[in-house]
Each structure stands twice: as structure tokens, then as C-alpha cells.
């Protein structure tokens, strides 16, 4: 019996396929992710809601006459309670809240999504660099990050909007920039844990360029917390838009942005709460939809979470 410590030559169950054509590999990965996603009920509900909102946003102009239904003022019909004619009631200028909420998806969803993408884009790049390279680059980025996070969002809003004009995009920019520090911190933290994994060293050994390693091998493994943060951030961005529009830094009136509808309904919280409840519900539903989708996406992308 001299075969001690000799293992069975295990059949090639997980053998590396060698350098298969990459295009092919990625396509199947994509398909796997989509397949996983399509099986996730929550994600499908989320996707459905988002599609519905996007459709409403796209066809809002077809459905409603902007001048008459959305911004047209009918003082005689102000502050009507929800009824069949006005399912969500009317606001203090006699405008139908239901129509305004639907139309407002145009502004709010784009504010939420674009602001988050701006914050995500800048934050992930900086965070990945900081987490991956360490040393001086990390120190500089993280100190810069500390500085940036000390600037109150209102101050940032005032400056960006007043220096560059009160447009919707500048509002998105202001909100996006204030969310950069969060993304930097989260990305850096997860890159730090992935960076020291052996497979990254293996890629180095294989002579793959650093940019490629970061983009294709490090970041995909850090996606889970970033996706969670991003989907949550969409909500905070819409809410942030409401506090900025209270200061007059939002989407210019009379556009029915949900945040500004909320802040204008503030006086009526007690006497006509439907002015705030419905835009608030709209935000809730949107946030939920994005989170459900985000969760599903994370589960589909992250094989560790499948079981």
C-alpha cells in the first residue's frame, strides 16, 4: 500500500476551457444573467413597473395637453379632494395631481436615474483607482473625497445651479456630485477585498493590462454593493431634488417634478394631504421598482448568491 497521498485523478468537471473566443463567452454570460433575471419574480415586477413608468414618460405628451392639463391653472377648482374626475385631487392652483404625477415621471425618474449615474460613474472610477492602486493615488482620492463630502448638498446645489443656470441637468449634476463620496467609499472597500484575491494575481501573471483587469475582473466582482447602493440612491436623489426645489434650485416651475410637488404641498400636509401623499407614493413605487430590479440583477450577476 504505497499509494498514500495520491488522489484520484478527478474527472475534468471544472476544467478551464482555455482561451475560448471572448465574444462568445460574454454573450453567453449575458444570456445567463438575463435568464436568471427572467426567473426572478421580484425583478420582473420591478422591470414591469419601470417599463410602465418609462412608457408613461415617453407618451405623456400624447396623453395630455401640457398647457391645459399639466400646467394650466384653474383657480376655481383648487384643492379638490380625490374623486373620479380627479383621482388624486387637485393642487392649490387647481391642477389635476394625477396628471401631474404621471407627467412628472418625465422629470423625476430622469433626475433620479441620471443623478445616480453621474455619481456612480465618477464614484466608481475614483473608488476603483483608490482601492486598486493604494499608495499616493488612494491618499489623494480619499482626501479629496473627504473634502467633497464636507460640502453640504444645498451649498453644492446653489453653486452649480447658479453658476451654470437653473436647468434640470444642472440639478442632476448637483445631486450626482454630492453622491460621489458614497460611491467612492463603497467601491474602494470592495475593490480592496477583491484586489488581493489570487485570481487577480493570476491575471497579472498572465500579463493582462491593469485597466483591463480593473474593468473586467475586479469591478464585476464588486458589483453587488454598488448595485444596492445605486438603486437606493435613486430614491434619495428624487428626495434630494425635493429639498433643493424647496430652495428654488430644482426643475423650474411649473414643471410637475415630484420633488417640487412635495415641497409645495408642505403647507397642506394637514388640510389637503393628497398634495403630498401621491407624489410620495409615486416616489415609493419607483424606488421599489428599481430596487427589485437591482436586487434581481445583483443575484443574477453574482454567482456566489445563487444556491
Amino acid at each position: 500500500m504505497s499509494i498514500n497521498n495520491v488522489t484520484i485523478n478527478a474527472p475534468a468537471t471544472e476544467s478551464a476551457h482555455g482561451p475560448a473566443p471572448r465574444r462568445y463567452v460574454r454573450k453567453t454570460q449575458m444570456r445567463i444573467v438575463l435568464h436568471q433575471l427572467s426567473k426572478n419574480k421580484g425583478a420582473m415586477v420591478g422591470l414591469f413597473i419601470i417599463l410602465a413608468i418609462v412608457l408613461v414618460a415617453i407618451f405623456a405628451d400624447v396623453l395630455f395637453d401640457y398647457d391645459r392639463d399639466v400646467v394650466g391653472i384653474h383657480i376655481s377648482q383648487k384643492l379638490l379632494r380625490p374623486s373620479w374626475a380627479h383621482p388624486f385631487g387637485t393642487d392649490d392652483l387647481g391642477r389635476d395631481i394625477f396628471i401631474r404625477v404621471l407627467y412628472g415621471s418625465r422629470y423625476s425618474v430622469s433626475v433620479g436615474v441620471v443623478a445616480t449615474i453621474i455619481g456612480l460613474g465618477i464614484g466608481v472610477v475614483l473608488g476603483a483607482i483608490a482601492g486598486y492602486y493604494c499608495g499616493l493615488a488612494e491618499d489623494i482620492i480619499m482626501r479629496f473625497n473627504d473634502i467633497l463630502s464636507a460640502v453640504p448638498s444645498i451649498l453644492m446645489g446653489i453653486v452649480i445651479v447658479s453658476a451654470m443656470g437653473a436647468t434640470t441637468f444642472n440639478l442632476m449634476l448637483a445631486i450626482g456630485i454630492t453622491s460621489v463620496p458614497q460611491f467612492v467609499r463603497i467601491t474602494r472597500a470592495s475593490v480592496l477585498t477583491v484586489r488581493n484575491q489570487e485570481y487577480i494575481e493570476a491575471l497579472h501573471a498572465a500579463g493582462i493590462s491593469e485597466a483591463r483587469i480593473i474593468a473586467f475582473h475586479v469591478l464585476p466582482n464588486c458589483l453587488s454593493p454598488i448595485i444596492v447602493q445605486a438603486t437606493l440612491r435613486i430614491a434619495s436623489a428624487i428626495i434630494a431634488a425635493s429639498s433643493l426645489s424647496f430652495l428654488g434650485l430644482g426643475v423650474p416651475a411649473p414643471a410637475p417634478e415630484w420633488g417640487s410637488m412635495l415641497s409645495l404641498g408642505r403647507q397642506y400636509v394637514r388640510t389637503a394631504s393628497y398634495l403630498t401623499i401621491f407624489p410620495g407614493l409615486a416616489i415609493l413605487v419607483t424606488v421599489l421598482a428599481f430596487n427589485l430590479l437591482g436586487d434581481g440583477l445583483r443575484d443574477a450577476i453574482d454567482p456566489k448568491l445563487k444556491k
Binding site: R143, I239, S243, V269, R270, T276
Partner: protein
């Protein structure tokens, strides 16, 4: 570890310099200054404005103004408010007790709601209970603070006689409603972090070891799993605590809570440069210290991180 803490404290110096300059610069970019406001309020003539600008030290370039400000800062003088004429440090410190109380209470509320919720959702992953508890935490995220605050005042404070509608004078009772308002806004992020962090830990082999020892499932989760899941949870909670220490403007407004948030926003609105710069410097220092404490807490929770702090070998990849 002490060296690490010292290093971190030293690193705050460039941050303070950067923050003060950035804010100075931003305040310079912001349209209008305190004199413009006084013009409107007091109905001054234009001749009076230049004298006033001189008096408020608003003449000269940003750089010279910044330089003289920092000179005073190095002497330990944060300047005085242009609006009230009181020293900035006094105004800030006066607001700190209320701010600290609210921040602690909000984090407490957030933790007692979100950690059990997150753990529960992780254990029941994929079930209806999981989804329901996550929806619950999102509601907190989607409700604007002012709405929840006002609702709490109308529905709760008007019916519960010992709960005041606002102010910071009635002890514990006065912090309950503001803390719920701020705390519920924080639960979503914390609950979700707890959930995903617990999910990571729940699949770990060492929990099987603990179970194989014969531990109760409850203990396995609350002691052995939770402690391993704490790092991301503490990171988020610590970050939230730091942010709330910077003030919760809308809640402070609704509950007339004398906190730092409104102090800064009021100062920004009235373009009170010394007040804005001073308060934000003090705020960054406070936040920096809190974040440092959180980072040191990691070491207490996870011995591996402690070892890293001791070595702190940086690998340039």
C-alpha cells in the same frame, strides 16, 4: 494602532485646508453676498454698500481673503458671524448638544429597526417575509422627512400629551419624534446592508461548525454570524451617524430642533461666510473623528483588520 490613529488625525490637516478653501471658493462663486441681502432688508442706498463690504471683509481676491482667514484660523480664531456678530465657535458648540442627541437617537432608532429586519430578511431570503420587510424599509426611504415629521406631530404629538411637538427642552421626550423621523429615513440602507452582509456570512462554513457544536440557531445567527457581518453594517451606520452629526435640516426645521444643520443652511442662505466656513471645518473635524472611531471599531470586531493596522503594508500592485 495608536500610530495609525495619529496618522489619520494628521491626514485631517490637508482635508481641513482643502475643505476651507473649497467652501471659501464656493461661497465666492455663489451669487450674492451678505451685503446684497442687507441691501434688500434694510433698504440701503448703493453708496452704503461698499463701506459694508469693507466692514465684512468681502473686498480683495478669494486668495487673499482665504489667506488671512487661515492665518486667524491657525491662531485658533474661527472668526465671528457676520449676521449675529457672535463667535462662530460659540454658535457651533451651542448647537452641538442637540445635534449629538439627535444623531445618537436616530442611529439608535435606525439600528433597532433595521438590524433585526435585515437579519430576518436574510434568514427568510427569497420568501414573502423577505420582500415584505424590505418594502417596509423602503417606505422609510421614500417618505420625505418633513412629511413624516409633520404627520408624527399631527397624529402622535397632538394625542400623546407627554410628547412635545418640538424644541429641545423636554429631555428624552423631545427627541423621540425627531429621532423616529430621521431614523426611519436611514433604515432602508442599513437594513439592506445587514441583509446582504448576513447573506454573505450565512453561507460561510464556520457557521456550520458552530451548528455542529450544537448551538441554538438563534445564537448561531445573533452571535456568530452577526459579529462577522458587522463590518459593513458598522461602516454604513457610522457613515450615517457622521452625516446626521452634520445636521438634518428638514427635521430640524419641522421640530424646531436647534441643530447644526439649520445653522449651516441659514448661514449659507444669508451668505455668512465666516459662519459657513467655520461650521463646515468644525463639522468635517467631527465627522473625521467619528469615521476614525468607526475604523478603529473594526479592529475591535475583526482581529484580522487589527493585524492590518499594525502592519499596514501597502502593496503597490
Amino acid at each position: 494602532m495608536l500610530r495609525y490613529a495619529m496618522k489619520r488625525l494628521l491626514l485631517m490637516i490637508p482635508v481641513i485646508i482643502g475643505v476651507s478653501f473649497l467652501i471659501f471658493f464656493i461661497m465666492d462663486l455663489a451669487p450674492g453676498d451678505i451685503v446684497d441681502l442687507k441691501l434688500a432688508e434694510e433698504g440701503l442706498t448703493y453708496e452704503q454698500t461698499e463701506q459694508l463690504r469693507e466692514a465684512y471683509g468681502l473686498t480683495g481676491s478669494v486668495f487673499t481673503r482665504y489667506f488671512s482667514y487661515m492665518l486667524n484660523f491657525l491662531k485658533g480664531d474661527l472668526g465671528t458671524s457676520n449676521v449675529s456678530g457672535r463667535p462662530v465657535l460659540d454658535s457651533f458648540l451651542e448647537k452641538m448638544p442637540a445635534t449629538i442627541v439627535l444623531a445618537c437617537a436616530s442611529i439608535f432608532v435606525s439600528i433597532i429597526i433595521s438590524i433585526p429586519l435585515g437579519i430576518y430578511a436574510a434568514i427568510k431570503r427569497g420568501t414573502f417575509a423577505d420582500n415584505a420587510s424590505m418594502v417596509l424599509s423602503f417606505i422609510g426611504l421614500s417618505i420625505p422627512n418633513f412629511w413624516l415629521g409633520l404627520m408624527l406631530i399631527i397624529v402622535v404629538a397632538l394625542n400623546v400629551s407627554w410628547l412635545p411637538t418640538g424644541g429641545f427642552t423636554k429631555g428624552i421626550a423631545s427627541v423621540i419624534l425627531p429621532a423616529i423621523t430621521v431614523g426611519t429615513g436611514l433604515t432602508a440602507t442599513l437594513a439592506r446592508t445587514t441583509r446582504s452582509s448576513m447573506l454573505d456570512v450565512l453561507s460561510q462554513d464556520y457557521l456550520r461548525t458552530e451548528r455542529a457544536k450544537g448551538h441554538k440557531e438563534f445564537k448561531v445567527i445573533m452571535k456568530y454570524a452577526l459579529r462577522n457581518a458587522l463590518i459593513p453594517i458598522i461602516t454604513i451606520a457610522g457613515g450615517q451617524f457622521a452625516v446626521t452629526l452634520g445636521g438634518a435640516v428638514l427635521t430640524e426645521t419641522v421640530f424646531s430642533w436647534p441643530g447644526v444643520g439649520r445653522l449651516i443652511v441659514d448661514a449659507v442662505n444669508s451668505r455668512d461666510v465666516p459662519m459657513v466656513v467655520g461650521c463646515i471645518i468644525l463639522k468635517s473635524i467631527t465627522i473625521g473623528i467619528v469615521v476614525l472611531i468607526v475604523d478603529l471599531l473594526y479592529a475591535v470586531i475583526d482581529p484580522r483588520i487589527k493585524a492590518q493596522y499594525a502592519k499596514r503594508k501597502r502593496k503597490t500592485a
